[in-house]
């Protein structure tokens, strides 16, 4: 019995069950609307894995939402609902683009500088929410939603400033090449072009994609946050505040300081994600018609991961894979690609039911107990 309850208790097992239920529900919806679910899924997986280039594209799409996912998950562990992650991400893109356009240092300074600008901007932007929560008791959901829109319009404002706006487009100028992703710069160098010309595999996965170092940074951040939460005093205090604010305060933990710190770190991670999107993928800031949802998708990633920073890596890849592959089912058999949103929504919904696990285990144990009595 112990072994069974241990397996059931594990987040991972539950995530697998949730994913299975997600696929099942989506299959039922597809079946009810006249599509063959097996056919849809086989096309979906073909769209995800049939070429190395597809896999690389999924990794590229996953990197920013892994980071926004970690940002959200981190705050969640401290009991804070960082719905402002979208705005912190946008502010990161703005700062990275502005610094990337205004300055032109050698690339070993410029690239880190651009990332730092995005990280700092996101962190400070997040810290305002933390400050307002800690000092004035204003709910972080309200400031988060407001700050998302403020960042959104601020970005569009910057794009339309004469100093940054590229005439005849809806974007800024490209950031200076010295601030672009090292992989991109290598690809464009003589040596890189030479390799790409001669090696078909490299041409597929790097030449034809926006391959960038985002995923490496995302993994480093995931491990770092995991380490901080598990093995440091700060992490212990943060988790304590997340579990019981009042008890922590009574134990001498400064909850206000913790709240601000948490938002600073969460915002910084989201801002870094935005900066990496500028250096690695878009290279410029776009005027937005609607929010791009990198932040909101991070919410889903974090919830699918059950709030674990390392889990965010896998959840991010899954999310990116499903949405990337989802595009092909629309193209190939005309099944609405929105089925993917239903699938992911169901997974998150099931993850919300995670509190059921202890109940189920108790039920099982009770039954086991009764048998012993006999």
């Amino acid at each position: 019995m112990d072994r069974v309850s241990k397996i059931l208790r594990s987040q991972f097992t539950f995530a697998v069950i949730a994913i299975f239920i997600g696929f099942l529900v989506a299959a039922l919806v597809l079946g009810a609307t006249g599509y063959n679910p097996l056919e849809v899924y086989s096309i979906l997986f073909k769209g995800m894995f049939s070429k190395p280039r597809y896999i690389m594209n999924i990794i590229i799409k996953a990197s920013p939402i892994i980071l926004t996912g970690i940002s959200f998950a981190f705050a969640l562990r401290v009991g804070l609902f960082n719905i402002g992650v979208e705005g912190q991400y946008i502010v990161g893109t703005i700062a990275a683009a502005v610094v990337g356009i205004l300055f032109d240092f050698p690339s070993y300074i410029q690239f880190p500088l651009v990332l730092l600008a995005g990280t700092l901007a996101g962190g400070l932007y997040g810290a305002i929410s933390g400050l307002l929560k800690a000092k004035r008791g204003i709910h972080e959901v309200i400031t988060g939603i407001m700050f998302n829109w403020i960042a959104f319009y601020a970005g569009n404002y910057i794009v339309n400033l004469e100093r940054f706006h590229e005439p005849g487009t809806t974007t800024t100028y490209q950031i200076n090449a010295s601030g672009l992703d090292p992989i991109y710069n290598w690809k464009m160098s003589e040596a890189g072009l030479e390799v790409i010309r001669n090696n078909e595999f490299i041409r597929e996965v790097i030449g034809k994609t926006s391959a960038n170092i985002g995923i490496i940074i995302a993994i480093i951040v995931a491990l770092t946050i995991h380490f901080i939460l598990k093995n440091t005093t700060i992490g212990y205090e943060l988790r304590a505040v997340g579990m019981n604010k009042h008890a922590s305060e009574a134990a001498g933990i400064n909850v206000a300081k913790n709240t601000i710190q948490t938002f600073l770190i969460a915002g910084a991670i989201a801002g870094l994600s935005g900066a990496l999107s500028i250096t690695g993928v878009s290279h410029r800031l776009f005027e937005l018609m609607a929010q791009e949802n990198y932040g909101f998708n991070g919410l889903s990633v974090a919830l699918m991961a059950g709030g674990s920073p390392i889990g965010c890596i896998f959840a991010g890849l899954l999310f990116a894979g499903l949405t990337y592959g989802g595009g092909t089912i629309q193209l190939e058999i005309g099944a609405p690609s929105e089925i993917i949103d239903i699938l992911i929504g169901t997974i998150v919904f099931c993850m919300a039911l995670v509190s059921l696990i202890p109940l189920i285990i108790n039920k099982i144990n009770q039954r086991g107990g009764k048998k012993d009595v006999k």
Partner: protein, 301 residues
Amino acid sequence: MLSKLLLLISNTVMYSTPLAFGALGGLISEKSGVTNIGLEGMMTIGAATGVSAAYLSGSPWVGFLCAGIAGALMALLHAVASISFRADQSVSGIAINLLGAGASLFLVRIVFGSLNTPPVPKKLPRIFSDSSVLGAFSRLNFEVTAVIAFILMLVIWFIFAKTKWGLRISSVGEHPRVADSLGLNVYKIRYICVITSGFLAGLGGASMTLSILSNFVPTAISGHGFIALTAVIFGKWKPVGVYLSCLFFGLAQALVIQLGGGSLLSSQIVAMLPYVLTVIVLVVFVGRSVGPKASGVPYEK
């Protein structure tokens, strides 16, 4: 000048209506102790269902009603998760937003074959079928949905201020254990409130697509549910306050439309102002906002 002022009033009322439905719904749910972050998803499914049903039946009122039912069904999911299964209400709400958006686009794609629908045969009416009866004030011929929202606010105010039903809901949201010990059925009351909340949010979504627009587009509901959520807190969980908050956001949007692109301020800055203002008002005037005590906390018998 007068005509500009009348236009501003008319636009304010128009833009605040979907928010008012959503926010009043959110208010009822929160009052009973269930946070409803899923308003956005419930409004979206209402917007999509409203247009689909109005298109297929030919009647905007059938569409309006179906939108409410669709919102209520979404809310039922949220209720099952957050009341019976005691799930994390924020997580469930986020899932509802994903499911609502996905199901809406899926539905619209199945019914119309594309994500931007053709206009419905008939929109929801205005108060007077002929605006000219109002003479110079023809701008004030509001949408019927605006009137419904206003009446709804009065009804909800009355329920909470004057009836035992309101008292019961509040007690379940403040002290569920005490309410339970006094013989109230906490689960039942919360279920009713959450489902009502979804019904209203669905109506809000439909008031956007059947009254303001005349078709469904994927951006029809973009952030309205979240603004409605904000309005609940901004209005300090009081029906009149919540309604006024929605008017405030409506006014802001109307101002953006009327001032937008002027030489004085960039339209982006104008668009940003309501959100900046909200934060400033909160910091300076409102301060600590305290909701129903048990809001967001699952109740375990």
